[in-house]
């Protein structure tokens, strides 16, 4: 019996998901703040997408009166839009990093305890990254809807229901999916650094750390 050390410790994906979900459910307020950061960024992104898609569709196939009105207002603002969107997403990442830094510091003792119980650094990272990814997913789902619908309503208000015949819904859906994926990915990226920092602490150090 002496001298035998094994290697196998595991955290099945299903369990990791369960733990992350539970963390989100119980610390719902905190999760909402992280999600809302993604929500705002993605809403902005999606509103720009929707605007571009609808505008182009109307310029191509729309009624003459709308075309004229659009052409007068349309400028070459594409570059500026891209710049603004990138900036907003960057702010979003920083916001998430900040929130996750708080979150892992707050739960330092919990992390240390899990490591005492046999968790690898990787398990800790998995749990937190899944958590952040899910928060991002929720935020992007809502943000994409809000941004897209918001822009659609603006167009409806300006030009009336006639434009509904010209909107490429499939194209919008594609952009919506893209926004959701992007939102989820950036919230995972934002969480990598804080999670890495706390996962690699020695358990004694993690438990000792007072917040």
């Amino acid at each position: 019996m002496a001298g035998q050390v094994g290697k196998q410790v595991m955290l099945p994906k299903q369990e990791a998901f369960k733990m992350s979900l539970r963390n989100i459910r119980i610390r719902f307020g905190r999760a909402c703040i992280v999600s809302s950061s993604v929500l705002l960024g993605v809403a902005f992104l999606m509103s720009i997408f929707t605007n571009t898609v609808i505008q182009q569709a109307l310029l191509k196939n729309g009624p003459e009166s709308i075309k004229v009105s659009l052409a007068a207002g349309a400028s070459d603002s594409m570059a500026r839009d891209i710049w603004l969107v990138s900036l907003s997403l960057l702010v979003c990442v920083v916001g998430i990093t900040n929130a996750m830094l708080m979150s892992v510091t707050e739960r330092s003792r919990e992390i240390g305890t899990m490591k005492c119980l046999g968790a690898l650094n990787r398990f800790i990272m998995e749990i937190f990254l899944i958590e952040s990814g899910m928060q991002g997913l929720l935020g992007s789902l809502a943000g994409g809807l809000i941004g897209g619908l918001g822009m659609l309503i603006t167009y409806l208000a300006r030009y009336g229901t006639v434009i509904l015949n010209y909107i490429p819904y499939l194209g919008l859906l594609k952009f919506y999916l893209f926004s959701i994926i992007l939102g989820t990915v950036i919230s995972i990226i934002g969480a990598v650094y804080p999670t890495y920092l706390s996962a690699r602490m020695e358990p004694a150090e993690a438990i000792r750390r007072e917040v």
């Binding site: 001298g3 305890t113 005492c116 046999g118 358990p203």
Partner: protein
């Protein structure tokens, strides 16, 4: 019966940097613990007992010296092996209980089993048995904040026994408990120690602990001051406890 050594430390030293000053917390500690032994590490606060305890548990790395657990030098282990060791060979009990706050009592106990690869149903089965053993059968679905300090520590003890470890490390297990609850926890630890042939090592300055210990290791200024056998202790216990 030949003594089987489960923990052996040789010249363990630990220094901490406090700003630019080097603080020598442990100055070379040698100790052997046999299977099934109940050891108390006593000493005033700041004597280095918690630090020593962390070294034995593989929770922190010594600056010099070696720590062997079951004859394996833990400095030689990679991250996987160390995690495995913490998961299966050692059970930890803390002064502040350190239960995962978002999990129920049962989930806290089954967590190390999940890490060890035990299936869900078996883990729940074993978890329930352990909870019954520590007398908390009625509290299975309670969260830590719904439990009293003593109950939380019982859950922690059950969790420490989850994967039938060879060693239980308890850092001030009664430090946050009142006299009566503390006594119950000590009795429970001793019971588990006797029934499961587990070595129990506690870092403490709770004198109630002397009564159940096989040996008491006194640490002062990062060194072992003296080691006393149980037989020589009995008279003193009555004196210091004064009940």
């Amino acid at each position: 019966m030949p003594k089987e050594v489960v923990v052996r430390t040789i010249g363990v030293k630990k220094n901490f940097m406090l700003g630019r000053i080097e603080l020598k917390v442990l100055r070379g500690v040698d100790l052997e613990v046999s299977r099934g032994e109940y050891i108390s590490i006593m000493g005033p606060s700041g004597s280095g007992k918690t630090t020593f305890f962390n070294m034995i548990g593989g929770l922190d790395k010594p600056s010099a010296g070696r720590v062997y657990i079951d004859e394996v030098d833990i400095a030689q282990l990679d991250a996987y092996e160390l995690a495995w060791l913490r998961c299966r060979k050692i059970g930890y009990i803390f002064q502040t209980f350190n239960l995962i706050p978002v999990m129920t009592a049962l989930e806290n106990i089954t967590l190390p089993m999940i890490f060890a690869g035990v299936g869900h149903d078996e883990a729940v089965d074993r978890g329930l048995k352990l909870l019954e053993m520590v007398g908390l059968k009625e509290r299975v679905q309670h969260k830590p904040f719904e439990l009293s300090g003593g109950q939380q520590q019982r859950v922690a003890i059950a969790r420490a026994f989850a994967n039938s470890p060879a060693i239980i490390l308890a850092d001030e297990p009664t430090g946050n408990l009142d006299l009566k609850t503390g006594k119950e926890i000590i009795r429970l630890l001793k019971e588990m120690n006797r029934n499961h042939q587990v070595s129990v090592i506690t870092a403490t300055h709770d004198l109630k602990m002397l009564d159940v210990s096989d040996r008491v290791v006194w640490i002062r200024d990062g060194q072992i001051e003296r080691i006393e056998e149980r037989a020589n202790l009995d008279i003193k216990v009555g004196e210091v406890e004064g009940e």
